[in-house]
Symmetry: C2
């Protein structure tokens, strides 16, 4: 893990850009004498890890006593765009917008998001190894954000102690199956009127998790309309399980 720049923010949080092989990322840490628990924040949908609403959430968590890391998934953010991915993403959005038959949307989803999750999850494992090797970061480890990758990690990576998932309407078949192997405490957050995440699918997914401690939060509004108080609720969820 190579740090390429650092900046002390006005809330006292240190923001450091890093690369690990071809993976670019950001690590936010508060000033702390004690070793820090760690939260991995993952996103998809073609977003950049510097997307302001993602950064605001990461900084909030860091200011409340966690090391927080974000990376750009393959084809996202600072990484080379993949023309095929961009086409598939546009096709998926069009299919959803046009209300095409579920089987057709499903096919695009499987052929595009499936392989993306298969590439992204091992990268997070590599990043997790590197982060826990840094001085001052001790765990336990929480996961927050992209549902499909989070399922993959929470089901197979014993170092993940608690997970917050968002949306979850379009999760590939492999991860929908694997949801039954997720047993860590879970906070599942969705937007009730999410234009790109069918509500019924998201609720079925919540039902599938094996976790005995799982909580669903849903708010009115579309995909990007999550109210700020959910960031605070997420922080309290992690405080219950990571500190």
């Amino acid at each position: 893990m190579r740090f390429t720049s650092e900046q002390r923010l006005d809330d006292g949080v240190l923001a450091r850009e890093f690369t690990l092989g071809e993976i670019p990322g950001t690590l936010w840490t508060p000033e702390s004498a004690a070793p820090l628990p760690l939260i991995l924040t993952a996103h998809n949908g073609g977003l950049h890890r510097r997307e302001p609403r993602l950064v605001a959430r990461a900084r909030y968590c860091a200011a409340h006593g966690y090391a927080v890391a974000a990376i750009d998934a393959p084809g996202h953010g600072d990484r080379p765009r993949c023309a095929a991915d961009d086409r598939s993403r546009a096709e998926l959005r069009r299919a959803m917008g046009e209300g095409r038959p579920a089987a057709e949307t499903e096919e695009i989803l499987e052929s595009f998001i499936g392989p993306l999750v298969d590439r992204a999850a091992p990268e997070w494992r590599t990043v997790l190894d590197a982060l826990l090797a840094l001085p001052g970061i001790a765990g336990p480890v929480g996961y927050s954000g992209w549902t499909a990758v989070g399922i993959e990690l929470a089901a197979t990576e014993p170092r993940i102690a608690a997970a917050g998932f968002f949306a979850g309407g379009y999760v590939p078949r492999a991860q929908r199956e694997r949801a039954r192997q997720v047993g860590v405490p879970l906070l599942f957050l969705l937007q009730w009127d999410d234009e790109g995440n069918p509500r019924g699918r998201a609720l079925d997914l919540f039902d599938a998790f094996a976790s005995t401690e799982k909580t669903l939060h849903a708010n009115t509004g579309g995909h990007t309309g999550t109210p700020w108080f959910e960031v605070e609720d997420g922080d309290r969820f992690f405080a219950r399980h990571l500190t």
Copy 2:
């Protein structure tokens, strides 16, 4: 409103028993120089207002800066039992336990809970008038608990500024209709595996509310298994809307 006894609790909260006509109730208030916002806490299911888990929640809210009131609904707690109500309640539980046809359960529900809501809601209005006439209680007013009575009040009583509803699987037809007239900020809490409240019906009800600020919380477990942190979440919900 006639106070019949009072007790200063170890958290500094004053618990006062009262009667208002034939209605028995309890009012919890913290020590405060400033006028207090008010939370009405209602329950059904044959429970006593002194049920320990109800009292614990009421005291928690009072200790956090609210006047909190509970009354016994007709046939509940300190009030004369009604043999017909008891029979209907037993019949409803039996019908649900035996998984009898929905239409049959619906019929018992309408003939028993419907009239009970029609009697309970006006009593809460009378109690609200009396509470707001007391020195030191100024509002705004929140409502917490029994969904059917809460819908009736929130839809028709402009003094209710925010409402927290619980369960909501068996709400009479009249209140399910009226849900579309509820526009106040809402926190709807349910238990994902509630043995007496069908999940689909509760989710349909959440969907029906007109409120633009509505939040759903659901946790694993049966009807009485709500985790304590939901009491804290409820307190933060009221802090956003009543203070």
